[in-house]
């Protein structure tokens, strides 16, 4: 004991002399964390119309009309206290909450019209332009009512609206639309209606918000929330363990560090990203469904989930794992190398490809992903399919799969992921024949009429009670025809200090948004 103390003191002395202090100061009125975009990260993008992630953080000071509940199961009111959908699903009426912008001005239906029109306008850089194209008019019968008129029913509209943050017309209407995407306003003086107000952004370091005492949901319990940025995962984990921050999104590899530690609470949730092996349909080797089925039977998904993911994943037999979307009786593709070999023999694999190498491209470049790729390679080799993993960074991956004149063999097979919820229609962009590039992101060039018909039927379903059944049909076709070899949906993790009270966080895709009630977050001394 004495020796340990002496050693600790000896090691500490030089740094203590330099820093002039011992334990790092803790402030009970400030919550610090890494709230979005990977471990310890933060959104580099403060413009909610061009952001593809970071909505957990953005929704601390900006709010949408409607928002997902904290289970990502239902869309509920946010800035709209209530909403109604017309029987023909072409009119959405929103009754607005009595809210005020951070500069004191009232939030009105004029702001809703301004925001929706801006979000529909591709010149504003909006990611929502195509998704809101069905909106033909925004009517404002009074200051507290906004009506969206649609040219045709759009089952995904409410899901899209959860990410459309309301913007102040009085602050932004003077800025030319073309200047808006990267205008300094977003990172210097943005105002919203949320429980916190934007305070300060220090490039590459942190963003600070201060409490909005006039928030309609009550004054926040802490004075400030700071989103810290860590380039390196180790830095975020170190800051969390040393108590400098109270929350961070973490990689599954780091979860074990916090297990059985009473100072931390591990939050596990569905990633809503289905991982799959994409069969490039422009490459002849995958044309025969028996070959694709052989791939599924060759891979021992249960073993990979157990030994590499530590059980933190659900096997996916189609694009979905939610019980409501998976019909009974579909093929579970049990690990069966003998069956895989027989299917390959039936298909004439020796003539189709034999032992020639097939590139297996992925943008997942963590050590865990490298192990998964190695396992898949070994399992496929066992049945006679010779895949060669190629691990690259995201820009390289995108430059290959989105190339104007693609080299099909450079991504003959991919190990990738695509968001599959909370709205199940979201994977349509990667599988429907109408989404072939350049119109969509069907990068594996899937041309399967039955699948396209199933998606079209689901997307056009106006009866909410029948939607799940339509997506079960999509699942059934995916399972039988295997446009992709679906593998699993993994869990994602956040770690929070137990000092954080009433803290709601889930690893929602793109950060949500969802009902997190940040005004209730508190920090025990």
């Amino acid at each position: 004991m004495l020796r340990r103390t002496v050693t600790k003191l000896a090691l500490s002395a030089p740094l203590l002399a330099a820093t002039g202090r011992g334990a790092l100061a803790q402030d009970a009125s400030t919550i610090s964390g890494g709230f979005d975009v990977g471990p310890g990260g933060m959104p580099g993008n403060f413009n909610p119309m061009t952001a593809t992630a970071g909505f957990t953080w953005l929704s601390l000071y900006l709010e949408p009309l409607v928002i997902y509940d904290a289970k990502l199961e239902a869309v509920v009111g946010a800035l709209a206290s209530t909403y109604q959908v017309s029987p023909d699903q072409t009119a959405y009426t929103f009754r607005l909450a009595d809210a005020r912008w951070h500069d004191g001005q009232a939030f009105t239906s004029a702001d809703v019209r301004f925001t929706i029109e801006l979000a529909k306008n591709a010149a504003s850089g909006s990611n929502f332009a195509a998704r809101l194209a069905a909106i033909t008019a925004v009517e404002t019968p009074d200051a507290h009512t906004a009506v969206l008129k649609l040219s045709a029913p759009n089952a995904a509209l409410l899901d899209t609206l959860t990410k459309v943050m309301m913007l102040p017309a009085h602050a932004l209407s003077a800025i030319p639309t073309a200047d808006l995407p990267r205008h300094a306003w977003w990172s210097t003086t943005p105002i919203g209606t949320g429980p916190f107000k934007f305070n300060r952004y220090v490039n590459g370091q942190y963003v600070a918000l201060v409490a909005n005492p006039d928030y309609r949901g009550g004054k926040p319990k802490v004075d400030r929330v700071v989103n810290r940025y860590f380039e390196n995962t180790a830095g975020a984990v170190a800051a969390l363990r040393s108590g400098e921050i109270q929350f961070s999104y973490v990689e599954s590899d780091d979860v074990a560090t916090f297990q059985n530690n009473p100072a931390f609470r591990i939050i596990e949730g569905n990633s809503y990203v289905v991982n799959y092996l994409g069969f490039n349909q422009e490459v002849p080797v995958w044309k025969d469904v028996r070959v694709r089925r052989a791939v599924m039977h060759a891979i021992d998904r249960a073993a990979i989930i157990k030994s590499l993911y530590g059980g933190a994943a659900l096997p996916a037999d189609c694009g979905y794992v939610s019980p409501a979307l998976v019909p009974p009786g579909i093929d579970a593709y049990a690990h069966d190398p003998a069956r895989a070999k027989a299917l390959l023999a039936e298909a004439g694999w020796a003539q189709i490809n034999g032992s020639k190498p097939i590139t297996l491209l992925t943008y997942y470049n963590t050590p865990l992903a490298a192990n998964v790729m190695a396992a898949i390679q070994a399992m496929l080799a066992e049945v006679g399919i010779n895949v060669v993993p190629r691990i690259v960074d995201v820009p390289t991956y995108n430059s290959i799969v989105y190339a104007a004149t693609p080299d099909w063999n450079s991504f003959a097979m991919v190990y990738a992921g695509l968001q599959n919820g909370p709205d199940p229609s979201i994977i349509n962009i990667g599988l429907n024949e109408k989404q072939l590039p350049p119109a969509g992101a069907n990068i594996m060039r899937v041309r399967m009429p039955k699948l396209t018909a199933a998606f079209d039927a689901a997307l056009g379903e106006t009866d909410g009670s029948k939607r799940a059944q339509r997506y079960q049909d999509v699942c059934r076709v995916m399972n039988a025809d295997l446009p992709w070899g679906t593998l699993w949906v993994t869990s994602r993790y956040g770690v929070a200090s137990t000092r954080l009270k009433d803290f709601t966080w889930i690893p929602a895709p793109a950060g949500g948004p969802y009902e997190a009630h940040p005004e209730r977050w508190a920090l025990a001394r």
Partner: protein, 322 residues
């Protein structure tokens, strides 16, 4: 025009030509690398259509021919306008890079000063006490320092001092959201500077030791001793001054390497310097920031090498520049 001034002007002109060549080379290498800023922006698990990606490219001017893009950048760069970051906040590159230069200079200068002080002192002790216990211990430490990669020492230092001992902040330059204070800055600086200095200390120590051993056997040192000069004076005034010449060269050439080491340290400690800026920019394929930062780092290294050459003349009057 004095000879030194002419020499400096000539070197500065050559430096400008080198910077031009550097900018063209970096531009070409960036375009040859797979993926562009739009490819980096798109999250593969939240798909985007190639049509939308093409619109983004058009808006950023990435659809224009390469020579047009380069000369458009160059025309702006010579007026001091290095364009805007292509990342979310879209900040102007010049103020962004300059704002990161200060923290990098602070970290590098602190690390190098520590390394120079400790390295020269250690080298002198090693040479004077050749093959003694002190020399052997210092040699072992030096070899450990030389053979430890920056990312490893950074991660180990972070774990030991921040997580286990909790005596140093885990990252950043100042406490997030707090008002500036010198104590706070020093607290954040101490650990990364110390870790950055390790490799350089070891190298400078070895060079100083070798150079001192050579000088200590020179006739003029023997003469100084024969004249009855005190040992401290012999070491400090006669031997060390002459032994420092190769060490100064080493320090000059170390600066470029130090920037490389700072990339790791800045990345692990989230120190808001050029290294961190470059890592983030490369990951995002942020062409304007990479070009601007490469130009400014290049200019900085050229300037420091010139200063090193000029320093020779100050240290050794026998050397004439030009």
């Amino acid at each position: 025009m004095p000879r030194t001034l002419r020499y400096t002007a000539r070197r500065l002109l050559a430096g400008a030509a080198m910077l031009l060549a550097l900018s063209a080379l970096v531009f070409l290498l960036l375009r040859a690398a797979p993926g562009d800023p739009v490819d980096a922006y798109v999250n593969p698990s939240v798909a985007m259509s190639p049509q939308d990606m093409a619109m983004l490219r058009e808006r950023l001017g990435l659809d224009r021919p390469l020579p047009v893009q380069y000369f458009a950048w160059l025309r702006q760069a010579v007026t001091g306008d290095l364009g805007f970051s292509l990342q979310g906040t879209g900040e102007a590159v010049l103020p962004l890079v300059l704002s990161r230069l200060g923290p990098t200079m602070l970290l590098m200068a602190s690390g190098l000063l520590l390394a120079i002080g400790l390295g020269i002192a250690g080298g002198v002790v090693g040479a004077v006490r050749r093959n003694g216990a002190a020399d052997l211990s210092l040699s072992v430490i030096a070899f450990l320092g030389i053979s430890s990669p920056a990312f490893l020492t950074a991660l180990l230092g972070l774990y030991l001092f921040s997580v286990r001992l909790r005596i140093a902040p885990s990252g950043g330059m100042l406490t997030a959201g707090a008002a500036f204070s010198l104590t706070d800055l020093l607290a954040h600086l101490a650990l990364p500077a110390l870790l950055l200095s390790i490799g350089h200390t070891a190298l400078i120590m070895r060079y100083t030791r070798a150079s001192m051993l050579e000088v200590l056997n020179q006739d003029y040192v023997r003469t100084a001793r024969a004249k009855g000069a005190r040992e401290f004076s012999v070491i400090a005034r006669h031997a060390l001054r002459n032994a420092l010449l190769p060490v100064v060269t080493l320090i000059g050439s170390t600066i470029g390497v130090a920037i490389g080491g700072a990339v790791f340290i800045e990345s692990v400690f989230n120190w808001p310097g050029m290294g961190l800026l470059m890592v983030t920019a490369v990951r995002a394929r942020d062409y304007p920031v990479i070009m601007g930062a490469a130009l400014i780092i290049g200019g900085f290294v050229i300037l420091l090498n010139l200063l090193t050459d000029l320093a020779y003349a100050v240290i050794d009057p026998r050397i004439k520049v030009g």
